[in-house]
């Protein structure tokens, strides 16, 4: 240490300051012992040296469990973008499916009315085939306590096969007519979830939000809200006899429509699609359920032959300019 002289002011100052505290040591000691009169050393606690291994073990187990849970969560609940891609990949493998579409259209104009359409359909990708049975029922009034008598508007059956004219059969009027437009994967059949399936396969949709989990038909499903690109093909989904009466467009445009897709995490395939369209005085909700993927269809599943005893029409009675 640097030699210091007795006159070093710093050393002298420090010595004086500390000595002043030490000089009160006896008083401090007495004060301390006095303060301990009513105190007793606490009884012995379990030795930490024994407890620590258990604590460390518990921490290790908890950490491992948390890591496993995180890994499982990542596998079971991937990010929405990852889930969307898994959905697309699963749909890429789809060769065909059956479905049910239930549409409920509620108009609040005048007395109001409700139109309910149920379509049971089959769609085959290769070779392309479509078969759909459509029932549309209208109920006058939107007052659920005193609904009007339901009236069957449509009982149609439609079939298509690749490279052949399609056929639409009106079972109410016992009529049928040919549909010359050939169906393809990107020509969306009416009343089917194919618009969403096709766009997801094309990666032309984006996830808006993760809707979490919901139990549907006994399955735990994970929901994604998706928005299809604006370049989507126009769908004719929906009953022309419903919305065009109120001024809506019969050819439904799904642009800017949000779909809910509920996915079975075991297969990454949809269990249900949902969407809704709303106007100032109407609301239409769609549910695509009963989805069975990669069905082996019977050879005559998409038969386009007309039933006997039915009258053939030159053109569709729903065609424009009728």
């Amino acid at each position: 240490m640097t030699p210091t002289t007795p006159d070093d002011p710093i050393m002298a100052s420090l010595a004086a300051t500390h000595s002043a505290v030490n000089a009160r040591h006896a008083q401090a000691r007495a004060l301390l012992l006095e303060s301990l009169v009513n105190e007793v050393p606490s009884p012995s606690r379990p030795r930490p040296v024994v407890a620590w291994p258990y604590i460390a073990g518990a921490i290790g187990l908890c950490t491992t469990a948390a890591a496993v849970a995180l890994a499982l969560w990542l596998v079971a609940a991937p990010s929405p973008a990852v889930a969307m891609e898994k959905l697309a990949k699963a749909l890429d493998q789809v060769t065909g499916y059956t479905y049910r579409m239930e549409m409920v259209y509620v108009s609040r104009k005048d007395r109001g009315r409700t139109v309910r359409q149920v379509t049971d359909g089959s769609w085959r990708t290769t070779p392309v085939g479509l078969h759909a049975i459509m029932h549309i029922v209208e109920t006058a009034g939107t007052n659920t306590e005193s609904p009007g008598a339901p009236k069957t508007l449509v009982d149609l059956e439609e079939s298509h096969q690749a490279n052949q004219p399609g056929i639409v059969i009106d079972h109410l009027k016992k009529e049928y007519w040919e549909v010359n437009e050939t169906v393809a994967a990107n020509s969306i059949p009416p009343g089917s979830p194919q618009v969403a399936v096709y766009m997801v396969q094309q990666r032309r949709g984006r996830v808006l939000q993760d809707l979490g989990e919901q139990r549907i038909d006994g399955h735990v499903a994970r929901g994604l809200e998706i928005m299809l690109d604006a370049s989507q093909p126009v769908s004719e989904l929906g009953p022309t006899s419903a919305e065009d009466k109120d001024g809506g467009t019969p050819a439904l445009d799904w642009r800017s429509t949000k779909f809910e897709v509920w996915i079975d995490p075991k297969t990454d395939l949809p269990i249900e699609f949902r969407c809704a369209r709303r106007g100032d005085d109407f609301e239409t909700t769609y549910r695509f359920t009963n989805l069975n993927w990669n069905v082996d269809f019977a050879a005559d599943a998409f038969d386009t032959r007309a039933p006997s005893g039915y009258t053939e029409l030159d053109k569709s009675p729903f065609a424009e300019g009728e």
Binding site: M1, P9, S42
Partner: protein
């Protein structure tokens, strides 16, 4: 023939058996080291006795949890550090109105609280408070141990040579900082 001085372990056992005077002996042996630690860590020279009392009070209440009674010195040093850190946090909270640049002002206020009657001591303590903690600890240990370097070195757990090296650095910093601002004692005496 005089009785040998009881060891720390002896006094811990006796304290646990209800002998408070044995705890007084522990206080006599370790209070200087505890004072050095609490001042060095907290920077609060004015609170040195309160912090020392608090350290020994906590040690007494927890004495039964001391695993190795031969390690009383290092054990109570740990308690002293804990108490001093708590005091420092409280101190900083109390002086939150000061910006970081005003730490020196805060240090001076603490020193002023400690020795209001002596301007020279206040300035020296302020300078010590700005030393690195290791050097602060060496300085306070040395002077609380009445300039006994061996005891100071043992109190802070370093070798004698290591202690001297730390002290030399500390004193050089203090001289550099304080420079000619302190009149020598000789001069002061002459002026007096």
């Amino acid at each position: 023939m005089s009785q040998p001085e009881p060891s720390d372990a002896d006094d811990v056992r006796r304290t646990l058996a209800g002998d408070r005077e044995a705890f007084g002996r522990l206080f006599d042996r370790h209070a200087r080291m505890v004072r050095a630690v609490v001042v060095a860590v907290s920077g609060d020279f004015g609170g040195v006795e309160d912090l020392t009392q608090e350290t020994f009070f906590r040690a007494y209440r927890r004495l039964a949890s001391l695993q190795n009674i031969n390690n009383f010195r290092s054990w109570i040093q740990g308690i002293a550090r804990l108490v001093a850190r708590e005091r420092r946090r409280q101190f900083l909270d109390d002086h939150r109105r000061f910006e970081a640049d005003d730490i020196r002002l805060v240090v001076e206020i603490v020193a002023c609280d400690a020795v209001q009657q002596d301007e020279q001591q206040r300035r020296v303590l302020s300078a010590v408070a700005e030393l690195p903690e290791r050097e602060r600890l060496a300085v306070h240990a040395y002077f609380f141990q009445e300039k006994n370097a061996d005891q100071a070195a043992a109190a802070i757990g370093i070798s004698r040579s290591g202690f001297y090296a730390v002290m030399e650095r500390a004193m050089n910093r203090l001289r550099k900082r304080l420079g000619d601002t302190l009149p020598s004692i000789t001069n002061a005496r002459n002026e007096g």
